[in-house]
Structures are given as structure tokens and as C-alpha cells.
């Protein structure tokens, strides 16, 4: 649905204001119900037994002692699920191991018991005989021809012969002639960069409550980014009809992509089926870190040619991402996005998808993009500074614009990259003085954004207030945004609309909350649903007035006669029309079902000042400013919140966070003490500048904002630390020992 021309000059009444969120009181009083907060009569506790080995053949599972323990009501292993359809086979294997345990923490068996204590005891009674196999957790090691192999026969035809079976796929993007471009350069920089695996780090562990009847009807309460996905996946795994499984999304305590797949849910349903009782499962924090989706660790080669005036003549990157124990790392999105901010004549990226003995990577906020941006934005910065050029000016000179053929194929419509760079350049932060051991870094970032399957149903109640039903869990204020867009379109106050998240029985298919899609796609469907209700209300008014419905228009929450021949009638408000709806044709509603397209790509530029302690290598973030295009900021406070939250997750990725595996392939830091996410005392305020370059694909110009904000910070922080420390940092995290070693080695 295209941007309304009238919206380019439109004065919004609700959109752009900052009302209180409708779920606010529930969330500040403890009343909001999250995944682990639900109970059911007769409920059992479900627990999972996990592999203590990184790679092992499962020779035998004997659960007879556990089954005999008083209070144990069901034990489940992979054998209970039988064959599952191909499209969910890897997900099934991740939820419950079959022939092999493929990573430390891989689920082996599950129990349901009358109490947590009995469940824990039962797990200890399950005997598993393993044949421990050699393992590999490093991406470059896993690609070597003699590396331990996880799967035979999964390699795709894109991979040249002679490589390890762990190399699943090769992809390639770009255009032009790299070699010819490199010849035009005054300097060619080649560097290898590495990033550690990091976890989404949502504070709410995965949790669900399942019931399953003998007639094949199931109910599931779950914290997820997409309950329709949960329904479809669980139905496929358990051989249920989708319509027989009703899934209700709880409030969700963070996801960042990590709750876009299933882990516990099919197991909980199977335990509920076998026991005939409701089963609740809640992960511990160590289970979350050991066995749910982190993102890839990566190894990336970059080769960029630049003229001494700053013009990039050729840009090449080769990206190796391990995605854990099954195919599907986000390497393609890294390869597509890394050079997307630039207008390049000669550009090419090659991506390698690699499996290792680690938990399967799940989506993490702009999956694959932050690591690619770290490598590429670091290289561009080093080249620019090497020529004594302003790194923002170099980015502006090479920056993509409307009409640029992107590095991944499409030609851009109106985009906001240069607006973010120009805003950064004239911001006081850019010229503020720096002290000793301090440095300033900048970097750009890009994200595609997404639309997808979306349903919204909008109902006008008999008193003329409005309810909106949508199918995407509210992960950070989206109910407020939908309420605002419905109120805007209907011309009624914000408090006359209430938005709820409907269960899977109440709407058609909805894509998960991913791709920064909700404010864009659900917003678009909400606006269309409201328009549909407005048309119906105009028709009712026309009927009452006895005039043609084309002669009625909607303005400020009321139907009004329009045009010279419509007649003179006082406006009928939504309340007046609703009050007589039973006499004019029945209840009034609008709904819209769509596979939303035109999400509108998003760009950001980040600027950060750091101070590096030369004696310890510790980095302190002194100042941070985010410049990002939001298209149209529906609720500016929540847009700022997305900018700030993404920046800080990126700071954690840059400085602290990493999955640390021992030689034994066991995760060494499966807890928040040792997997250290940023805390309040690590940080300054995160300043934000919202740019609004309307998205041509949305009626109000909205673009998704949630993911782009994590793309630039890894590189921005690295560029700042490199300047402050006087040595180029090419590996994340830039933990104090690593920075200190680099300083001592003198570069």
C-alpha cells in the first residue's frame, strides 16, 4: 500500500505524540502475565535432560528407573515423536536429539512430574550411554578438510569439492569487476576480522504451559515472538491439524529474534499428551545460554580499494559464519547487507554457511548484519584515516541514495542514509573536543526490514469505542502504536481504542514479530482495517440520510455529507452510527488480511566516544549518539527506545559478550555473571536523532526501526577504541585483556 501523497504534508493528530502505553499499568504493578506466570489445575512440571558432551552418539537411553519413580507421570525421548515432515526435521532434532548429541546442552530426554523436586530427581535416574565423538566449535577449524564432521550429505552443490562436509553452502552477491576496480585504487586494504558468538540475552527465560487432549485438541500458553509460528511448527511435529491447536501468546520478556523458533513447546505438548495433564516448562538461565539460539561467531576477510580522495573503487568480502549444529547461519544476510550503505561500481561478497558443535543459531536482531558491518566499516574507517580524510565525508561521498543499485541487487527508492550522515556531520558531538586516551568512532548500518503475512480485525462496539485485534506479541510498545494508528485513521481519541493480541484461533496467519515488521506491516493492516470500517460507517450514514454513499466522507471521527449535491445533514459521529447499527445492517467492523510488501530499507549512522585505560585495556563509553531514519516515528519515545536498546546491545557485543568454549567443547560461561551484558553503570545516556524520510511503501511513511540500531555499534566502538588505543582492533569482543595485549604488541 503506497504512501499517501497527502501524508507528505499531513498534520498528524495522534501519530507522533507520546501517549502512555495501554499495557503500562499491568507492567509496572506486576500484573502482566509472562510465560512462567500461568498455572493450570493439576499442572505438572516438565524438565529436560541435556547432553554433557559437545558431540556424541547416543547408544542407549534407559528411562525405566525414572518412570518408576513415584510422582513421575511421563518421560519423553526422540522415539516418542516418530518421523516428522522434512521442513521441521532440524527443529525437531534441536528440540530432542535423535542419533547424536550435537552440542553441550542438547536435549536428550524430558520428564513431567508432580513437583520440580521429583522432576529433577527423575532426570538423574535416566541412564544414557554415549559414544563420545571428536568435536569442533570454531568456524575456521570446522571448514578444514580433516575437521570432525557433524552431518553427512547436507552439503549443497554450491560448495566446491574437497571441502569439509561441515561447509553447507556458498553464496555470492554483487556486481561489477573487482580486479578492474582494485587497479584504480591508490591503496588496497586487506584485513581479517573475527567476532564471537553472542546471545540475545532476553531477561525472560523460555516458558510454556501445554495441555493436550486425547481427541487431538491442544492449548498452549507460551512466551514467543510468534504464536502462529509456534502453532504451525508444533502441529507439524506432533502430527496435529493446525486448527486443533490453539496458541496464546503471553507477555514476552524480550526476544530480539531468539524467540522466533521453538525449543520447549513440542516437548511440553508431548509430555501433556502422554501424561494427560497440563505441563509447564520453564528454562533456567544456563539452559537458555547452553541450548537456545545465540548468533554466529564469524571470520571475515575484507579487501577494499580506495582512491586518495576517498572514492571506493572496489569492495570485496568473504564471510564465514558458523550457525551451530544445523545449516542456516545468517551469513547470506551478512553478505547482502555489509556493503548496502554504499553506491559501488565494483562489489562482491561471498558467504560460507558452516556447522559446528554449538547450539543452532537463532535470529538475533538484524541477523548476520552487525558482524559484516563490523568488518567492512572498520576497513573503510582505516582507509579513510590512512589518507587523512574525514570518515563521515568518505561515507557521504560513497553513500547510497535513491536510484543506487544496491550491493545485493535491488535499486533503492527514497532512502535515508545520507540524511543520517549529514545529521551526524553537523551534530555538536562530531566536533566536541577529546581528551587523552580517548577516541571517536563512526559507522553506518543497514537493515532490509520485512512485511509478511498479517491480519488485523477492528471492531466498533455498540458505544462507538473501538477494539483492534492483531496477531503479533507486543515486545516493546506495539499495542500503543497500533492504537495510535487506528485512532489517527478514525479521527477519534487514543483512549477510545484498545488493542489486544489475539490467539491463533481468532485471526488468520500472522508472521512472527521479526524483520522490524510490526509497526510497518501490522500498522498498515490496522490503517486498512480502519478505512474499511470508515467506508461501512459512511454507507450507514448515507442510508440514514437517504443519499448516495459516494456523497459521504469521513472526517474527525464523523460521517459528513460531501459535495454540492449531498444535502445538508449534521455530521454523524462514530458513537451515533454505532448506537443505531442494529437497525442499519448489524455490527460494524473492518478487517484486513495481507502479505505486506514495501517494508522500506533502513539506515543509521552511530557516533561514539570512548576512553581506553592504557594500563588495563578497559574501555569506558563516554558519549553515544544514534542517527537513524524512522520513515515516520509513530511513538517517538518507543523509536528512541529501539535506537538506544540496539546501540547498547551492540556495545555489549563489541566490548564484553562472548560464548567461551573449553577444549572439551563445553560452554564455560552459561550464566549472567560470566556472560556479562551491559549494566547501567557501564553506560552514559544514549542520545538519539530521529530522521524521517517517508517510506514509499506505507500510508504514513513508517519504516521498521528495531533492528538497524544494532548494526553500526560494533564497528563504531571498534573505530573509537582503535583511535583511543592507537592500534587497530580486528577481533571482538574488545575485552580488557585483548586490548591490553594489542597495546603492548604495539599494533
Amino acid at each position: 500500500m503506497a504512501l499517501d501523497d497527502s501524508n507528505k504534508t499531513r498534520v498528524f493528530k495522534v501519530v507522533g505524540t507520546r501517549p502512555d502505553r495501554p499495557d503500562g499499568i499491568d507492567k509496572v504493578t506486576g500484573r502482566a502475565r509472562f510465560g512462567a506466570d500461568m498455572v493450570a489445575p493439576g499442572m505438572l512440571t516438565g524438565r529436560i535432560l541435556r547432553s554433557p558432551h559437545a558431540h556424541a552418539r547416543i547408544l542407549r537411553i534407559d528411562a525405566s528407573k525414572a518412570e518408576a519413580l513415584p510422582g513421575v507421570k511421563a518421560v519423553v525421548t526422540r522415539a516418542d515423536f516418530g518421523d516428522v515432515p522434512d521442513h521441521v526435521a532440524d527443529i525437531m532434532e534441536n528440540c530432542m536429539a535423535g542419533e547424536k548429541a550435537l552440542y553441550d546442552g542438547h536435549a536428550i530426554a524430558a520428564v513431567a512430574a508432580i513437583s520440580p523436586a521429583v522432576a529433577r530427581q527423575a532426570l538423574r535416574l535416566i541412564e544414557v550411554e554415549y559414544d563420545v565423538l571428536p568435536h569442533v566449535t570454531d568456524v575456521d577449524e570446522a571448514m578444514k578438510p580433516d575437521a570432525p564432521v557433524l552431518h553427512e550429505g547436507r552439503q549443497q552443490e554450491t560448495v566446491p569439492p574437497g571441502m569439509s562436509q561441515n561447509v553447507i553452502a556458498r553464496s555470492e552477491f554483487g556486481h561489477g569487476d573487482i580486479e578492474a576496480g582494485l587497479k584504480q585504487a591508490d591503496r588496497v586494504l586487506e584485513r581479517t576480522y573475527r567476532t564471537a558468538a553472542t546471545h540475545q540475552g532476553y531477561i525472560e527465560p523460555h516458558a510454556c504451559l501445554a495441555t493436550m487432549s486425547a481427541d487431538g485438541q491442544g492449548d498452549l500458553w507460551v512466551c514467543t515472538q510468534g504464536h502462529y509460528m509456534v502453532r504451525n511448527t508444533c502441529a507439524a511435529i506432533l502430527g496435529l491439524e493446525q486448527g486443533q491447536l490453539r496458541v496464546t501468546a503471553s507477555e514476552i520478556g524480550g526476544g530480539f529474534g531468539g524467540k522466533t523458533t521453538v525449543f520447549l513447546e513440542p516437548v511440553a505438548l508431548m509430555l501433556a499428551k502422554k501424561s494427560g495433564r497440563p505441563v509447564k516448562m520453564v528454562m533456567s538461565r544456563s539452559e537458555v545460554l547452553r541450548a537456545t539460539g545465540p548468533t554466529s561467531s564469524t571470520s571475515i576477510d575484507v579487501k577494499i580499494g580506495m582512491r586518495k580522495d576517498g572514492k571506493i573503487t572496489a569492495a570485496y568480502a568473504e564471510l564465514r559464519y558458523q550457525g551451530g549444529a544445523w545449516p542456516g547461519s545468517p551469513v547470506n544476510m551478512g553478505a547482502m547487507s555489509g556493503f548496502a550503505p554504499y553506491d559501488l561500481e565494483n562489489v562482491k561478497t561471498v558467504g560460507w554457511d558452516v556447522v559446528t558443535n554449538r547450539p543452532k543459531a537463532a535470529a538475533y536482531r538484524a541477523p548476520g548484519a552487525p558482524m559484516a558491518a563490523f568488518a567492512i566499516e572498520s576497513a573503510i574507517d582505516e582507509l579513510a584515516k590512512g589518507f587523512g580524510l574525514d570518515p563521515l565525508a568518505v561515507r557521504l561521498m560513497n553513500g547510497a541514495d535513491e536510484g543506487t543499485k544496491s550491493s545485493y541487487g535491488p535499486t533503492y527508492p527514497a532512502i535515508g542514509l545520507k540524511a543520517t550522515l549529514e545529521a551526524a556531520h553537523k551534530h555538536p558531538h562530531w566536533t566536541a573536543p577529546l581528551g587523552k586516551n580517548q577516541g571517536r568512532g563512526v559507522a553506518c548500518g543497514f537493515w532490509f526490514n520485512f512485511g509478511g503475512d498479517t491480519c488485523v480485525s477492528l471492531n466498533v462496539t455498540p458505544d462507538g469505542t473501538v477494539t483492534v485485534s492483531e496477531g503479533n506479541p507486543d515486545i516493546g510498545g506495539s499495542r500503543a502504536s497500533m492504537t495510535m494508528m487506528a485512532a489517527e485513521e478514525l479521527g477519534i481519541p487514543y483512549d477510545q481504542v484498545r488493542t489486544i493480541i489475539a490467539d491463533t484461533g481468532s485471526l488468520g496467519q500472522n508472521e512472527v514479530t521479526d524483520g522490524s515488521r510490526v509497526t510497518f506491516a501490522v500498522g498498515l493492516a490496522t490503517i486498512e482495517a480502519a478505512r474499511s470500517a470508515k467506508r461501512e460507517m459512511c454507507r450507514r450514514a448515507a442510508m440514514i440520510w437517504g443519499i448516495d454513499e459516494q456523497a459521504v466522507e469521513w472526517e474527525d471521527g464523523a460521517a459528513r455529507p460531501a459535495g454540492p449535491n449531498a444535502g445538508k445533514f449534521p455530521p454523524m459521529t462514530i458513537k451515533e452510527i454505532a448506537a443505531v447499527a442494529s437497525n442499519t445492517g448489524g455490527p460494524i467492523a473492518g478487517h484486513h488480511e495481507v502479505t505486506a510488501e514495501g517494508a522500506g530499507v533502513s539506515f543509521a549512522t552511530h557516533m561514539v566516544d570512548v576512553e581506553v585505560d592504557p594500563d588495563t585495556g578497559a574501555t569506558k563509553i563516554l558519549r553515544y549518539t544514534v542517527f537513524q531514519d524512522a520513515g515516520k516515528a509513530v511513538h517517538p519515545s518507543y523509536v528512541e527506545g529501539q535506537f538506544q536498546g540496539g546501540a547498547v546491545q551492540g556495545i555489549g557485543w563489541a566490548l564484553n559478550e562472548e560464548y567461551i568454549y573449553g577444549e572439551d567443547g563445553i560452554l564455560q560461561n552459561a550464566g549472567f555473571l560470566d556472560y556479562r551484558i551491559p549494566v547501567a553503570s557501564d553506560l552514559p545516556m544514549i542520545d538519539t536523532v530521529i530522521l524521517e524520510i517517508p517510506n514509499p511503501g506505507h500510508p504514513y511513511g513508517v519504516r521498521g526501526v528495531g533492528e538497524t540500531s544494532i548494526v553500526p555499534p560494533l564497528a563504531a566502538v571498534a573505530n573509537a577504541v582503535s583511535e583511543a588505543a592507537g592500534v587497530r582492533m580486528t577481533q571482538l569482543p574488545m575485552s580488557p585483556p585483548r586490548v591490553l595485549a594489542a597495546i603492548q604488541a604495539g599494533g
Binding site: G30, V39, I203
Partner: protein, 159 residues
């Protein structure tokens, strides 16, 4: 396994419960008493989502046994508002968008209230260090810190 009888005060109400010797105060609050506003993010005292006060002292309820509540006064997030009147911190958190997903919010509010009771005029640095034990993954803390500072200023003006 015999259970322990505990007599305590929770949010001003005299309360009795039976608990296993190994049950944490968090388990008791959530599973025995239905006070699920207190959240479990880690179970190891690292995230602060389970923050409550015990005789006015801020603690992680996952690190304290239920049996240790005997004779104490426990305050949880459910005790923060008075009827339908929100505490100024609760109101300010909504107004200033100091929450996104809301899972850390109860713990942060309990911790922030505890700070303002001790120090009605904290500096930004004092707020940041006081809340350093409460992890938030959504907000980057900016709006949380601002909301606490602004509430403190409002409360000083009102007193």
C-alpha cells in the same frame, strides 16, 4: 519430606505458608502465594528481576530461602501501588517509556524505590551504580535512569 511452617508479613498482610526447606523466597512468592510480579531471570542473583525488600533491605529473592522469611516484613512489586494509586516511580516509568518488554520492570521499580528511600537526591552516577544489579536488555537504561532522576526531583518538590 516435611514442610516448614512460616509466619511472615507480605505487603503489609500477615501471611502463613508451608514450604520445602530448599525452596527459595522467590519460589514461595511465585508458586505458593501466586505473587508472580516478582520475576526469575537467572536464579543466581545476577539479574535483579526478583528484587524484593526484606525489613526494608533490598535483596534478590532467589538467593534467600522461603524459611528465612519467618518474622520478616517482605515487600514485593504487588505492594508498591496503593489501591489504584500508583507510586510516583510507576507513573513516571509509564510516562517516560522507561520499559519495553517489562520483564525487568518490577525488579527495577523495587530497587529504585529502595534507593529513593535512602537517598532522595541521587546523582546520575549513584542511580546507575544502585541499579547496576538489575539487568535490562531492551532499553539501554537511558529512559530508566531519566525516569528515576525525574521521579526523585518530583518527590523532593512535593515533600
Amino acid at each position: 519430606m516435611s514442610r516448614i511452617h512460616v509466619t511472615t508479613t507480605i505487603n503489609g498482610d500477615a501471611t502463613e505458608f508451608l514450604c520445602e526447606a530448599e525452596a527459595t523466597l522467590l519460589d514461595v512468592l511465585r508458586d505458593e502465594l501466586g505473587l508472580t510480579g516478582t520475576k526469575e531471570g537467572c536464579g543466581t542473583g545476577d539479574c535483579g528481576a526478583c528484587s524484593v525488600t526484606v525489613d526494608g533491605r533490598l535483596v534478590c529473592s532467589c538467593l534467600m530461602l522461603g524459611a528465612e522469611a519467618e518474622g520478616r516484613e517482605i515487600t514485593t512489586i504487588e505492594g508498591m501501588a496503593t489501591g489504584e494509586r500508583l507510586h510516583p516511580l510507576q507513573k513516571k516509568f509509564i510516562e517516560m517509556a522507561a520499559l519495553q518488554c517489562g520483564i525487568c520492570t518490577p525488579g527495577i521499580l523495587v530497587a529504585a524505590k529502595s534507593l529513593l528511600e535512602r537517598n532522595p537526591d541521587p546523582s546520575e552516577e549513584e542511580v546507575r551504580y544502585w541499579l547496576a544489579g538489575n539487568l535490562c536488555r531492551c532499553t539501554g537504561y537511558d529512559k530508566i535512569i531519566r525516569a528515576v532522576m525525574e521521579t526523585a526531583a518530583d518527590m523532593r518538590r512535593a515533600s
